[in-house]
Symmetry: D3
Subunit: 228 residues, 6 copies
């Protein structure tokens, strides 16, 4: 996995995540203030939107803007990314600022949602750094960004647990699981689905172990990217 | 939990699920044939839609039909129900028939998505029975409906794992998890989210244990309801 | 016709109307204040929305939320219900409060719009009672709710005028008429349509007589339901 | 009321109706064939759409195309026009042809829906004539167009029944009624609404008498327009 | 070309443009104030919307309101009209007033967008006159309306440059160009498209000459119409 | 300007265009067959869609998919790109194949539409090459792709004609013009707009000269990119 910071010139934080052939551009856009219903709370706000370019995939998909509606898969993934990145932040230390994270898949080959979370965290870290340089945070930067977050996909193929499924593996996996962990190895989100099959407790445990180890490796990569 | 079969007169399967103050009407509508892209495959099709009446909740929500778009939460839950109920069926034994499961929340007090899955299974079972009586299945009824499926919500409140959170508990839960199991105790879907907090491996394990036990109790209730 | 008050726990007024096999859940939701363009007028506001569950009918209809638009029939009926219930209220005695009446058809077998009006009135009466207990009305309760309103459908089948058509009768009716009357026997709305045929003045007169008598019987039922 | 036939060059039937300051352009567009679900029935099809130019009224309204949705009033009126014009035609004599009637209000000063029906009938008559010249009818023209239809609005202002309310009268009317009659004086549709007040049986009778007389006068005008 | 001022009674400016068989109703609606983001700037605002009646053309088009979205052609033309009419006005002399120009094509036979600009200018001039009579302008009327604007379509058919293409010519034109000029012969917009062919510099020059001459003739017509 | 071919792995043609700080990803997606209304014509089909990532610009724009509608600017540019690229192809030599060109702006700093056309041509050339290797063209590749097309933006700033305006220059330009030329120096499209001012014939001529020279330089770059 490669994390290229400042890939774009305009956003307060921007990271190009490359993971196998998957490429996701994560940008974090800061705006002063929070949505109306939250004003005066002293709390910040973060949310995320996920989308795919129409030909990020093997066959072209119609644009959701042209269809006039957002599909269920897009909604589901956007919500997962938003919940995961919310865990990074102490919203009272962030102060009444809003961060919008956009994760646009430029090329897809499996694991786009977990790549988006992993890269999104680095973009958010840069956005918090930008806010700190503007003296716009309510607390210290390390209070506002109180945890790191990374995510991996794991699955069972032919009875074997596997980390980081590419698209071809994903299609044939019996069980598919996304694990989101903090840099301390605690869990933020665990989503396992029996796509072609159901799964036993021992399989669940194996997948969780494998995923947690994968997240730990990514957390190290994130630390290096942010230190450079 | 109460499961009232044949609550509605028109659908091939219909169940009113009552679970605490939560009331969900699950109907299974059968149509001959499958969507165009699936024709000639010999496989059936099942999908689900979830919705809430506008005043099912403490404060009224605007109708999604009036807003002209379906929200992210609705999409996410509809997809979870659809994936879970797909695990009940062997689509080749179902033959080229389609089952649409509608889960409409008449009154909400927590656990609406898991109630919808649990009641939806019973409505699907009745729809398969209806197809059997029409001699429209490709296989035997027990092949078409090869597993039962039930779901519970579990959570951690004040450090304690809890089964079946009502709305007030759900709001204050640190961790929220939905567990979907088959009647044999295998897992179909596990979704855990740290809403207010992150969680450790031991907490995950406790929640999964609690959820699996809850599903086993519901599976027994489903058996009784279908036997009556 | 059965009118079950307080069928739902959350709304300020809620009534399940059962009329033959037709079942409509009418809820009245109160919010303080009125839409922006009405502020400072001293007048309250009431409006209504009608919808059907997808499998309330013999064959399943697609959800209007999924289609992304509200159909003409839904719009037409919502407007009829709104106009009819507006006649119940003296909006200056109501004060700057808003009542939204939701009429959701759980099961349909003819006469859903007239059942919605008849049940909606009872839900509105309970909502006005709730406002009275909150000391939120500008006038007295009996001034705010200055008339009762009930509605029936009548039609001509095979040359004979008929009250309360069920779905099968409705389909074959030559003329179809909805009559909305106050408890005093005055008319709020009269809508007659020659579906399969045109009609003469004498037929119109007969239908109006029949409808007015039907409304008088329902007004008595409403009085009893509200007295209990 | 002035009925100008062939106001537009493209449609098979087109009539500009002027009624006081109200101006409605009614066009009838013929297409061979019927919607898919009706194919092979031997029956034709007719439907109508009503709309207003944004500045047809004293203050400008936003376009429904820009809002992305059709309002309830538009839906309600389109359906009324469609039902009324359906009464003109014997759909089996029309054969499998479709007529779409568009009624666009160029200038509004009350009575736009009744003007649309009255002018729409003449446009439909011309469209049937066009079909006859193409030898495309299943029956004779006088069988296909078996009745004429006209409509008026009547109302009660200050206790007095009044025919043909202009916009300023319409706003202050206590009761507002639209009457649609055939050329023989039979009723197609009767819609009376107590806008500011309820109404008694005697008032209803007076309004129906007045409306039927108004329709008879318009039927004569339609005959003359079609004869010229 | 005929320009009929005050064709409609409600708008502050209204012109029916007839140009060959093409008929466009241009109305200019004035509202006090400007959109929120422009408040306090001292500048006025003008924008335009273009639309066609469904049967303005040889075959009927579906309404954009029914489709729920505005097509690309409509958007493109509305923007061209808006940019062109903006050139007429000195927005600081207009003061904080808004003018919405609606151009509705009642009958189409080529050149609808250029007819809309040419007629739209006259409607805007009448709206500015109306504002002057209300003493609502910040500057003098001749400062607010500091230029006139007219537009023509030109094209190359069979190698020959041609002014004012009707629909049949437009369809077979190799090159199609819209020229918008001020009354002084300066250019506001030049849009040339090689529809069936590409074009050389000399052809471009010829078309621009022809178009500028056409605009000069229309400017004279506009002066006469406004003088009468 | 840099043209990076094969930037994406999935599309039949893909080019990343970099032009100053502007970056546009152009992909050409080939599908066998043509839209239904064109079947049996022997002609191919090409169309284009343009979009911007939400934070391609200095401030974030809402996604058009979330707003549920495509804006006028997007429509206008998509149509310009489509018309321009249609000029590259002889659709009868292409045969009944469809090419969809997607131009997604990853970073914007002026000239995105002209960069999209210039890069889009190279992506189309690669797609035609792919079709040739599949033996799916009706004619020879050099017949199918019978012209090259490139585009530049030119403008007048402070009285001086300028090539290739960046965003800051674009905002202050008096006149803004997009020129699309073939590799032979013929014109495909000329669009000049007086944004802040009107322009004289001599200025128009200067801009066209400057633009044509700019296009010639780009055509040379395209030739080199396709030769490498």
């Amino acid at each position: 996995m490669t994390l290229t910071r400042n890939w774009s010139m305009h956003p307060e934080g921007s990271v190009l995540v490359e993971f196998g052939a998957t490429r996701v551009l994560c940008t974090a856009s800061v705006t002063e203030g929070v949505p109306r219903w939250r004003k005066g709370s002293g709390l910040g706000w973060i949310t995320a939107e996920y989308a795919m370019l129409p030909r990020a995939t093997t066959t072209r998909s119609d644009r959701e803007s042209v269809k006039g509606r957002i599909g269920g898969r897009t909604h589901e993934i956007s919500r997962l990314i938003g919940r995961s990145l919310r865990a990074c932040l102490d919203l009272s230390a962030l102060g009444e600022n809003s961060i919008m994270v956009d994760c646009d898949v430029l090329q897809a080959d499996g694991g786009t949602r977990t790549a988006a979370i992993t890269g999104g965290y680095v973009a958010v870290a840069d956005a918090v750094g930008w806010l700190a340089r503007q003296h716009a945070l309510s607390g210290k930067p390390e209070e506002a960004l109180h945890r790191s977050v990374a995510a991996v996909s794991v699955g069972i193929i032919g009875g074997q647990p596997r980390l980081d499924l590419c698209y071809e593996e994903d299609v044939i996996a019996d069980v598919d699981m996304n694990i989101v962990c903090t840099g301390n190895g605690e869990f933020v989100e665990v989503q396992g689905t029996g796509e072609q099959a159901v799964f036993k407790r021992a399989e669940l445990d194996n997948l969780v172990d494998l995923g947690a180890a994968g997240c730990a490796a990514l957390a190290e990569l994130q630390r290096k990217a942010l230190a450079s």
